[in-house]
Symmetry: C2
Subunit: 324 residues, 2 copies
């Protein structure tokens, strides 16, 4: 295995933030800390997590210059605060740290739902702080401070959804920050973001969770059979269905309308295929199956997935492990 | 990238088939040819494909000892005939080669639906041939003779569904053949196979095809947005939805009842989640999301998927390609 090259310092000098406070050191928060270091940004990192065990682990891993035990200490010197916790926690956290923000601070987040993030955070910020919500579209199925890595954001897209009143300079500084971490940046309206992500992320996760649950609950097919024969396609879905349950609960609770809209369309399309199967309409099946092939090629050409067959999986099977 | 080790000759000497006829040289058929060679089996390989271009390519690649231009020539000396074409072609092919089978020949296939395979092939075989349907649960999203590789079956399961009248010795010889190619072998009733695969393979494919189609058809979200932000989960589904359209059309037409049964359960489960989202029932969402995590761990422990995050993807992005 060759590890992807970590991001290097951007060619243009970045107007780096002096002090960055990361709230929540899971997969994304700890990856930001690592990517800031790998990019060589001259930024002081202050980390805070609500879980004492995570704070201890962050200290052990040396991910931050300071590990703060409380929110007030974490944000008091910060030029940029990034919330990296589940969306459902944003309101309470912002209420807790809002009064301690220094003048000119930019507050951002990495939540997968942006209208809800804005609504939860904005009411608790003082006038002298600027809110610029963000969403790096990147991740793995793993969670926690050990799961992060510096290259996570490389060539992925980070979507910023600044409210109309956000100063352009703040949006530009945050854009530069994400570019320095290897990401491409796109600006978008929060409501549109939530619809786009409902189709490219939220509904796919819901479907994956559902089919894994359906398979687990069958009386006529044993769990052992589901496991053994999972290479027929099912195993792909189990990766996504292994994602963090709290984060995903909050996504569905806070992006309800867009998710329900996409789900409705998905249901209609699935019902049409179900009917084609029942009535033996091979042409309808073939026509759909033939046109979906093209979209994968486009994703690969856009650098958003690997061209290697089967994702380039190398199964560390007991058999090969024994012979290696 | 390290290529998985190709299968080596089995420790016990295999009662290898003298002549093997492979009908259909796509991903699976060409992988069988390669795996037979890699395993060092002393088997003569005769290849036939209905497409002249495929026959020419098979000859160029040197995948067979003989490339036969017609079915009769392909099977006339064969001790084992394996059909590696879409299930919908089995009846016509068996009718074509049945009269030319030699005494004692074993006929098998690699179709993803087994009751239909039996029903299509059996009526056309002479009494002096034995039918033992089989299904190696392995594959990639790619098709054609160039897509195959010798290690495809390694540590994957091959399911045999012999009819009651099949002699035990024929079943055992075919089992040995698949074991020599690196597979684990399991015997199963055809109807049960079709139900198990409906949940571990067929319905997952149908769902993937559906969501990729749904995403392509949205008026409010551009194709460019779907591509850019596909790393949020959607891209996983596009791999499966890039599979061969003819093969999958035939799977759904021939495994109708089992697919509709599993789809019905999936629909019920998805509707329950949809309702939980609409009514803000976070507990119901969390409870499902928490229990599906376990099944992935079990699949990894069983050697049926990689433990590496994100399938160990290494994205050959334009950015990294330029710097490598």
């Amino acid at each position: 295995m060759t590890q992807a090259t970590p991001p290097t310092a951007a060619a243009c000098p970045v107007d780096a933030f002096g002090t960055l406070a990361i709230i929540g050191l899971g997969l994304i928060g700890s990856s930001i800390a690592r990517a800031v270091r790998a990019a060589g940004l001259p930024t002081r990192i202050v980390a805070h997590d609500g879980a004492p065990a995570v704070r201890a682990r962050v200290a052990e891993l040396g991910l931050a210059d300071v590990v703060a035990n409380d929110l007030a200490t974490a944000v008091q010197d910060a030029d940029l605060v990034i919330l990296c916790t589940p969306v459902g926690t944003f309101g309470a956290l912002a209420k807790g740290f809002g009064p301690h923000l220094k003048a000119g601070a930019i507050v951002s987040d990495v939540g997968s739902v942006k209208a809800a993030a804005l609504a939860a955070i904005a009411p608790h910020l003082p006038d002298h702080a600027t809110l610029v919500p963000a969403h790096p579209v990147a991740g793995t199925e793993n969670s926690g401070p050990d799961a992060g890595f510096a290259a996570l954001f490389r060539n992925r897209w980070c979507i910023l959804t600044p409210p109309a009143e956000a100063p352009a300079v703040a949006v530009e500084r945050l854009s530069d920050f994400w570019r320095a971490l290897g990401a491409n940046v796109e600006l978008m309206d929060a409501a549109h973001h939530d619809l786009v992500l409902a189709v490219t992320s939220h509904v796919p996760h819901l479907i994956a969770y559902t089919i894994v649950g359906t398979a687990s609950d069958l009386e006529e097919v044993t769990k052992s059979e589901v496991i053994k024969f999972s290479a027929g396609g099912f195993r792909d879905f189990t990766r996504i269905a292994a994602s963090d349950p709290t984060m995903w609960r909050d996504v569905f609770l806070t992006n309800r309308d867009a998710v329900l809209e996409i789900l409705q369309r998905f249901n209609e399309d699935l019902t049409a295929l179900q009917r084609a199967i029942r009535w033996g309409d091979g042409e309808a099946l073939f026509n759909l199956f033939a046109r979906t092939r093209d979209i994968r090629r486009t994703i690969i050409d856009a650098g958003q997935d690997t061209a290697r067959p089967d994702f380039g999986r190398e199964d560390p099977s007991p058999a090969t492990a024994g012979q290696a």
